[in-house]
């Protein structure tokens, strides 16, 4: 029955599907479409994607989940299935080693590697290196600072022009609380059971001159060093904060966003004048609070005076007199090994990480460039105070990335399992956590 309605419909459907499949890797105007899986932001990556689109290539953004762990899960599962639908991806540095070791990332040409090594901050290069090769392209780099209210630091007698220790900051907040007979001055940290908590623990250990692990290239046989004096110094800080009135009431579920209101706690009933918070957080804090100036208090807004009261200082020291090692975070661009257009994808990635484009992204999102040249982007100089930009760059040079290991998600999960909740941390925690990490890596314990 040629030409009968059902058969015609079936043929049309089949044709439609085939055409759809054939055109799925090219855009309507005949350009090659490069799909970039990016973490959610305020439009910075989309603007860069537009800038890096040409007459021949269109870079298109697909948005990944908010949480870094969920981003890893989505990308890794699809790459393990050799999905050609991913060309470029925004990668959290801690997962670079795992992806590279699994063979998910395309090799970056040597000349480009050399150029990126020269252009990027040391911390950014370290975080993107696995097996002596740069496996992803550093795009933006983040570090944490100590953000504080100037009046609170002054009332507590802290000299913020000199490096301060964790102990000093916690003591200052505790003292203000006892003087005011209230619990309104907090030291905000990220202590939910998630990667952000490990960022804090890693920075504390590195600040005491230690490291969570050595010989990462040995994979499951790497040397676990958390059971050490630096590990115990880190545990002491967590223990001191968790047991003091300086701890936020939501300490065990706190993250980067939930600590912010504790800096300007206007809408909390018990707030007394002249007290306010301290918090360690990433670089976006400045642009975040700047955006809140003039908004109503009920919607989280702050006044101009409040904003002028915002201070910033280098990350606190774990041990007095020893340089702090602030956390390193950011995003690198990975090129998929299974991309249908590897050359175009690598070209697009190289364009995305150009210093000027790093500046465009930083200006729109507050996520700072991975290179000193990126900081020269004129709009950044207008938006941010010069001393803040200098401090951020100094922080990135001093930053200590989390160790690169293909088993980082296991190691991080094992740390979270033992160190959470912060109130349970004591001097035995590092030893227990060292044993547990080894057992997990050897497959003797469930995680």
């Amino acid at each position: 029955m040629p030409g009968s309605p059902p058969r015609t419909a079936a043929v049309l459907l089949a044709l439609g599907l085939t055409t759809g499949l054939l055109t799925s890797c090219g855009s309507d105007d005949g350009r090659v479409r490069i799909t970039w899986y990016a973490n959610p932001d305020q439009g910075g990556q989309a603007a860069v994607a537009k800038k890096c689109s040409t007459d021949k290539v269109e870079v298109e953004i697909q948005v990944l989940p908010q949480d870094a762990g969920q981003q890893r899960i989505q990308l890794a599962r699809r790459l393990a299935a050799k999905d050609p639908g991913i060309d470029l991806m925004s990668l959290d540095p801690v997962f670079n080693a795992e992806f590279a070791n699994a063979g998910f990332l395309a090799k970056i040409p040597d000349a480009l590697q050399q150029q990126l090594e020269k252009q990027s901050f040391t911390g950014a290069v370290d975080a993107a290196t696995w097996d002596d090769e740069l496996v992803a392209l550093p795009f933006w780099s983040n570090t944490q600072l100590l953000w504080y209210r100037k009046d609170a630091a002054k009332a507590a007698g802290l000299d913020m022009t000199r490096p301060v220790t964790w102990e000093q900051v916690i003591d200052a907040a505790t003292r203000l609380n006892s003087e005011n007979r209230a619990r309104t001055t907090h030291v905000g940290v990220q202590a939910n059971k998630y990667e952000g908590y490990v960022v804090w623990i890693n920075a504390l250990i590195a600040g005491a001159g230690g490291s969570i692990l050595r010989n990462a290239e040995k994979g499951t046989d790497a040397t676990i060093d958390i059971d050490s004096d630096p590990g115990r110094a880190a545990a002491k800080v967590v223990e001191q904060l968790a047991g003091s009135t300086a701890a936020e009431p939501d300490l065990s579920v706190s993250n980067e966003g939930t600590v912010l209101p504790f800096l300007y706690p206007h809408d909390r009933k018990a707030v007394l004048p002249d007290v306010g918070g301290f918090l360690v957080d990433w670089t976006f804090v400045y642009s975040n609070f700047k955006g809140l100036v003039g908004k109503s208090v009920s919607s989280g807004g702050i006044s101009k005076q409040d904003f002028a009261n915002l201070g910033w200082a280098p990350y606190p020291q774990t041990v007095a007199g020893k340089d702090a090692a602030p956390p390193y975070g950011g995003i690198n661009i990975g090129v998929s090994q299974y991309s249908a257009h590897p050359d175009e994808a690598m070209e697009a990635a190289a364009c995305i990480v150009e210093p000027d484009n790093q500046g465009v992204n930083a200006d729109l999102t507050g996520n700072m460039p991975a290179s000193a040249a990126g900081y020269d982007y004129p709009a950044l100089r207008k938006t941010y105070p010069a001393d803040l930009l200098e401090m951020l760059q100094a922080g990135l040079e001093a930053a200590s990335p989390r160790p690169a290991s293909p088993y980082w998600s296991d190691i991080s999960g094992a740390i979270q399992a033992v160190w959470h909740s912060p109130r349970a941390v004591d001097q035995d925690t590092p030893a227990e956590s060292g044993r547990f990490i080894v057992d997990v890596l050897k497959g003797r314990r469930l995680l």
Binding site: A80, K193, Y194, L251, H420
Partner: protein, 320 residues
Amino acid sequence: MSATAREEVRKTAPKTGQRSGPATERGAAEERLGRRLVLPAVAIMLLVTAWPMLRALYLSLFRYRLTTPDDRSFVFLGNYGTILSDPLFWRDTWNTVLIMVVTVGVELVVGFAFAMVMHRIIFARGLMRTSILIPYGIITVVSAFAWQFTFSINNGYINSWFDWLPFIDPDTNWFGDHWHAMTAIMVSEIWKTTPFMSLLLLAGLSQVSEDMLEAAKVDGATWWQRLWKVILPNMRAAIMVAVLFRALDAFRIFDNIFVMTRGAQNTESSSFLTYRQVIEQMQLGMGSALSVLLFLTVLLLAYLIVKAFKVDLAQARGEV
């Protein structure tokens, strides 16, 4: 139809569910055709249900991780040994059993009360029934988020609404310790699924003969006596179905925990542990072993519940 005629019809009609050979050649041919017709459906069912189960069983014998495929090695029952000797597995199983027992227990009582209201109410019956059933119509993840915001120390209202209660302090961090977090998880689970329980119990309640209740009333039985001696015994099959469905459902609890605590404060359930092994850690071997154990536990649980209620399922289906 007279009583004699009804008896005649009952004798001649084929018994429901009774297996007997085909009486005629035509019957046999129809049966063969029937088998051929359902064959594709059976094949598809096997493909979508049996194949993943067999695959999980096979994978559970390996140490195999998606991001280190070269490290794959055959460990036979090693994964099961690791799981069964690990305190984490037993802690999560205990959490799951606790959540199941508490939520099903509370839901049985509250659900029964709702069912009674829905059964007896005369005024605004439709409105009342709809109001009671609304929570069940809400997607679990959505309700979990709603309850997370409710209990949140930063912007929730539970603390300010209920701080007159002795165990609720205005500064209570509901997700800050084990028992508070478990309470929040169980409250959200109970809120969400009590309507389902009451719906099943309502079906059972409507099957209790009014004549029997009337007779008991005439005999002078009090309300409690009628409840315990007439209503509940006659609803045994319905209660068993309600408890069975809800217990198995509660044993699979995942969404609420994922949204509210992500397993922090030792609030992980068995299915959450399995999720973390398979999805987060991509440990296909260990995760498959856990899913096999979860499957066996659910089977055992169903068997125990059916045994405990001493209900003859064939009788409940009206086969004999």
